[in-house]
Symmetry: C2
């Protein structure tokens, strides 16, 4: 029987025979599927990955809007160029300089969030069967894009110092020997999503050298770089090599994800193609959002705002680590120096995906580790996002999670691992 529309689903598709091959690879992201649950106010969501936008100074956004309407109204409401607003690109140069990057304003392309930057770069490079090397675990939104492009995703061993150069070289050489074409290495070097780990300065140099020798383009995704809690992380990889790195940046974590403004810094020949791809996909990035960001950067002390976010997220990170220590003594966690995430490793034999409904019954949500692998791994991992709930709720959420987890651990210790 065909389900009614009220169910929000249908099981009949008159066009089933007509889809492109790549459409087969679209699947519901485990993170996205949580959104309905997460929006219930009684649930503490440690899933998401959302910034705490309530910490923004609303008055500054209102001033930015007023300034925009006074100075650039007709431009803001109109189509713009496919590369994005020149003035904003100049301001982005200043932001990237904080990561040690010196760039030409010509080589920056503004995108609909850095997600669309990654989509466009992936579309430019990935034929079916091409290999993308990624961290283990890797960002779920990137894994989704690469899968949609029918690429082969190869996870490279990653520890608390980031991706392993030795494992990277070995994996690359093995795949090359198998006749595979490795097109990209995608990584989040600072406070990675989901692991929270940061790639050391020494390893950055080694990774650059390994990829350069093998003709592998590096895609460096850096949404969290400015959100450090202690020392600044090492300079961006792009600051060391402008020929072999495509750099992705975003305003989603230092201002607002609801504006969807990100950017790509790419070598000139790639950037030329990227602008054409951007125009083909959306004609031009939203003038209004770009110019609102630009006005905000002009009138606001945006570095102070980033400082506010740093302090806020550090407090929440501390609450998260303390709660894990107190309530989850048998669970291992990474100890991130910035960003949004803890990566938990459960005792062997537990399945984080299967436990999620139990957790939701206890009014807490998280993201199962399986979301961050393209190969089925991650069942004994959990990503905890501490950025959005209050510090108190981070603690409450982890305590709720512990009721489920510790009970499962007890069962496991009493009855042994299930088949």
């Amino acid at each position: 029987m065909t389900k009614t529309r009220a169910d929000g689903v249908t099981n009949f598709d008159a066009w089933k025979h007509s889809y492109a091959a790549r459409a087969e690879n679209l699947s519901v992201s485990e993170v996205r599927a949580l959104f309905a649950v997460v929006s219930r106010p009684e649930v503490v969501s440690l899933a998401g990955g959302m910034p705490d936008v309530a910490a923004l100074d609303t008055e500054l956004i209102e001033k930015a809007f007023a300034s925009l309407m006074s100075n650039r109204k007709d431009l803001a409401l109109q189509y713009g160029g496919g590369q994005g607003d020149l003035r904003l690109r100049e301001q982005i140069q200043e932001i990237m300089a904080l990561e040690g990057i010196h760039s030409s304003v010509e080589d920056i392309t503004i995108t609909t969030g850095s997600q669309h930057g990654l989509e466009l770069v992936s579309d430019l490079f990935l034929d079916k069967g091409d290999v993308v090397l990624v961290e283990a675990p890797s960002y779920v939104g990137a894994v989704g894009i690469f899968r949609h492009k029918e690429a082969h995703i190869a996870h490279v061993y990653t520890d608390e110092h980031g991706i392993s150069p030795q494992a990277l070289a070995e994996t690359a050489d093995r795949l090359i020997a198998e006749g595979k074409r490795i097109k990209l290495l995608y990584l989040v070097p600072n406070f990675a999503n989901p692991s929270g780990v940061t790639l050391t300065a020494d390893r950055r140099l080694e990774v650059l050298e390994i990829c350069k020798q093998r003709g592998i383009l590096i895609v460096e995704d850096n949404p969290y770089g400015q959100l450090y809690f202690g020392e600044k992380p090492p300079n961006a990889m792009r600051s060391l090599d402008e020929q072999n790195v495509v750099y992705l940046g975003s305003f989603s974590k230092i201002l607002s994800p609801g504006l969807r403004v990100g950017y790509v810094l790419a070598p000139p020949a790639i950037r030329e193609k990227l602008v054409l791809a951007n125009e083909s996909a959306i004609l031009s990035p939203a003038s209004f959002a770009q110019m609102l960001v630009s006005e905000y950067l002009s009138i606001a002390d945006w570095q102070k705002q980033i400082g506010t976010f740093r302090d806020l997220y550090q407090t929440k990170r501390d609450a998260a680590l303390q709660a894990v220590e107190q309530f989850l003594p048998k669970v291992h966690t990474t100890r991130p120096d910035g960003g949004f995430f803890l990566w938990l490793t459960l005792p062997e034999g537990l399945n984080s995906k299967e436990m999620l409904p139990l957790a939701v019954t206890e009014l807490v949500a998280y993201t199962p580790g399986t979301a961050f692998f393209g190969d089925g791994r991650g069942a004994d991992n959990i990503r905890i996002c501490f950025s959005h709930p209050t510090a108190d709720n981070v603690r409450v959420g982890i305590e709720r999670l512990s009721r489920v987890l510790n009970q499962q651990i007890d069962l496991l210790e009493t009855f042994g691992k299930r088949d």
Copy 2:
């Protein structure tokens, strides 16, 4: 010699070997390439395709922003769902009802302008070599997307009453007999870009039947439908068939293209995939822009604003037709009942693409007809966009154009057709 960066180009590409096959199909759109020229204030641009956003009531946009900041600030600044804001989707139902469309709010997906809607739909359906049927001429941005997907673009004979049903059936049957897979018919039934023609009610029924019989999905793109000057155009094709039509709508022409808010109404199974594709590409459509549009629709008399646009564009259309009659007596023009465009047909033997530099010297820009064909046709056509300049400047622009055109026509008549 490698050109300097100051030239804005480079002729060296270290990654030339690495691009995906589809990247070969990205090319500079003839329309887009004009942007640099068009932005010089002394040039009257009849190119573009831009709405006259100066005719918007700024105060209403300011009120919409104030209301947004009071009521939904944190939601507007945050990530949203991949399908788009529910409240805006409800409002879109009302807008589509003006075209005779009755729909479920579940089947609407909000996109980054309707361009991205078309990109996502094309990506869902088009494998390399698949056929897309289009009008002759067709929208340049659609032709660009289909080319990027490595599709085969087949133009179907189109006259002043829109696409010809007979030619459509013949073209489809010929291609099917050749073993081609025809996936989509893409068309702009109301005041088409670039031809300005409107598909008659009778032909809408015939086109629907022809496509249904042959399993061809119709993509109905309707950015201009509300911008009629006299009688309302016939109801949308989607109003007659909800299973075989994907409908694209946009706020770019009734509000602002700088916000990049469009939408897709699709049958449930297609819509489910579309939401996944949207999430993969951009995570979620911009909450801020969506909610600003929603507030605007709530507080403004938006139908009155559309009425203002209608009157304004009608005046400009009249100016354009009168100027063509007066200054270009040997040139044929379509006589659109709405929208933004005239489609000129020059005496045989003239080349509108080659003449463009001469026109720019006379301080007028237009779009050569070749931009609107995937097969090299259109050299004897010109698209005139009358929507953006003042009515006086539309007249000035066409007079300037006539200096170049009439001189070329005289030369042709004196010396005959060049080889």
